[in-house]
């Protein structure tokens, strides 16, 4: 295990040439990851060599651009074991989830229906549902977690007939760990309940297989998995795709139009109005290549163990409250904590002064914050460029902050 871990790190780190020389202990990969050189190169190659419209021209440069775009789609789809047709590119995980809320759920949901999300959802998987419920007379319900981070999936009402959709994060951006997505999707399918999985925090390190999972939708962003900014993806089950409308209308999405009728193109094109983001797609595919160059499970093992080491080091400090890990256990790429007597913002600032980049705040998770009764917490989150060497500088920052502020 430890051997695999060292291999992962040494193989990875050489590919982050800019990060390596920065002297910074970057502990905010849950917000966005650093980019390996191969991803940056893929983006620039797009601009240099394939700069032409996708799916719109018949000259060679455009043909090459179109097929590069579709090859990238296939690669990202295959990464989560989906067929290319079932994967659409969006600008972000946020757009992906909003697309499901506005383009699918809105026309299917009825007053009295319930949408369940968990206590630990990011605002991206909370606000669209809250708003939808307000507009449609449906009800938003919260699956609670206990003090050890276990999701209460036997909660009263969750499996009722009135439950329309369960929208659940795979890994929490604050509590880390992993939620029991397989169990939830299996049970939901048996009850005729639809499922959306927010995989923003998991795709970077946990292998995902949408066929095995059996979810209806799965959303993620490239920039949190070593890929470029401004592009995300949405997996849509084939059946749901037929029930879905595009969020945006425009070029490239229709077959024909008359005063009476807009005839959409086949999926995935009908859901991607506007000029496709080719360089983004190329960078996205390069990120998948980057991840797939590691043995299956190796990254998850490496960052999970490293997270555990961070937790253990923090647990030894007597002035720290650790938040639980989602799903219980200790294996996690995200660790949140509060230092007694030190406001998280002051803690983060002191760490920053020591070249340690950790986060403070509510982390776009107002639901969890109000439940935990914390206004803010500190969070560290790991990428494969991180190392146990990053632990000591953090501990020193915590001691320094306690000296100054507590």
């Amino acid at each position: 295990m430890a051997g695999v871990g060292r291999d992962v790190h040494s193989k990875a780190i050489s590919q982050f040439s800019y990060y390596q020389n920065s002297g910074n202990h970057y502990l905010d990969s849950a917000a966005t990851t650093q980019k390996p050189d191969s991803v940056i190169d893929a983006v620039t190659q797009g601009y240099r060599h394939f700069c032409a419209p996708v799916h719109r021209g018949s000259y060679p440069l455009s043909e090459v651009a179109s097929s590069a775009y579709e090859t990238a789609r296939s690669k990202v789809a295959q990464f989560i074991n989906a067929s290319a047709q079932q994967l659409i590119f969006t600008k972000s995980c946020t757009e992906s989830i909003n697309h499901v809320a506005l383009g699918w759920a809105k026309s299917k949901i009825k007053p009295g229906h319930k949408i369940w999300i968990s206590q630990m959802e990011h605002n991206a998987n909370y606000l669209p549902w809250l708003q939808l419920c307000k507009e449609t007379g449906a009800e938003l319900k919260i699956i609670e977690i206990d003090s050890e981070g276990h999701l209460q999936i036997d909660q009263t009402g969750l499996w009722d007939d009135s439950t329309f959709l369960i929208a659940l994060t795979h890994c929490s951006n604050i509590l880390g760990g992993e939620t029991p997505v397989q169990e939830v999707c299996d049970k939901a399918r048996n009850h005729g309940i639809y499922t959306l999985i927010d995989a923003a925090q998991s795709v970077s390190h946990i292998p995902i297989d949408v066929k095995a999972l059996g979810c209806d939708f799965l959303a993620f962003s490239a920039h949190k998995m070593y890929g470029p900014e401004g592009i995300g993806a949405l997996y849509i089950d084939a059946q749901r795709q037929l029930e879905m409308s595009p969020l945006l209308l425009g070029g490239g999405s229709i077959e024909s139009v008359s005063e009476q009728q807009i005839r959409l193109r086949e999926a995935p094109h009908c859901f991607e109005a506007g000029s496709p983001n080719l360089s983004g797609a190329l960078g996205f595919a390069a990120a998948v290549d980057f991840l797939q160059a590691f043995p299956q499970g190796a990254i998850s093992c490496y960052v999970g163990n490293l997270g555990q080491q961070f937790r253990q080091a923090l647990a030894k400090q007597n002035n720290i409250t650790l938040l639980p890990v989602a799903g219980g256990g200790n294996t996690t790429s995200v660790v949140s904590f509060v230092v007694e007597g030190v406001h998280p913002h002051d803690m983060a600032q002191t760490a920053a002064d020591n070249d340690v980049s950790i986060r403070t705040g509510s982390h776009c998770s107002h639901l969890l914050m109000s439940y935990l009764k914390f206004g803010a917490v500190n969070r560290l989150s790991l990428g494969i460029y991180n190392h146990s060497d990053d632990i000591q500088p953090l501990i020193e920052s915590i001691n320094a902050a306690a000296d100054i502020f507590a």
């Binding site: 799916h55 018949s58 043909e63 179109s66 097929s67 229709i254």
Partner: protein, 137 residues
């Protein structure tokens, strides 16, 4: 045969297409539209005892679409409707996989020229899709 010869055969079909003609009330009609290209095609078939006894097409279309339509009417006239799909699949393989073999239908082979131009696959397939539409396949 070389690409040049294939090209010459396609041009021959384009200049003097088989099956291009007027669709009347005896025909069952299927339609195809290529939104990228702006092409439109109507294909009419007469089916008797599960056999296609006549195919006509009307088109505002490019040379490849017209050549492919011409080839289609040649191949499928007097074939069983149950045979349409296997020829269609064969064409798909030729286009998408450039899969030409000794068993390939002689008349389809020139269309292998199109395999390296993905944006024109749709042109070559349009009339076939319209025909399948007409035959309710």
């Amino acid at each position: 045969m070389s690409n040049k010869e294939h090209q010459a055969i396609l041009m021959e079909h384009y200049k003097s297409p088989h099956g291009l003609g007027v669709i009347n009330e005896k025909h069952t009609v299927g339609k195809g539209v290529n939104s990228l290209c702006g092409d439109e095609i109507r294909v009419g078939v007469v089916v008797e005892n599960n056999t296609i006894t006549d195919i006509k097409f009307e088109a505002r279309a490019c040379s490849i679409c017209i050549a492919s339509s011409s080839i289609m009417t040649q191949i499928l006239t007097n074939k069983k409707t149950s045979e349409v799909n296997s020829f269609y699949e064969e064409l798909l393989d030729i286009l998408k996989k450039n899969d030409v073999s000794a068993e390939s239908h002689r008349l389809l082979i020139p269309l292998s020229n199109i395999s390296k131009m993905p944006s024109r696959h749709k042109c070559a397939l349009l009339s076939w899709e319209a025909l399948r539409d007409a035959c309710k396949l």
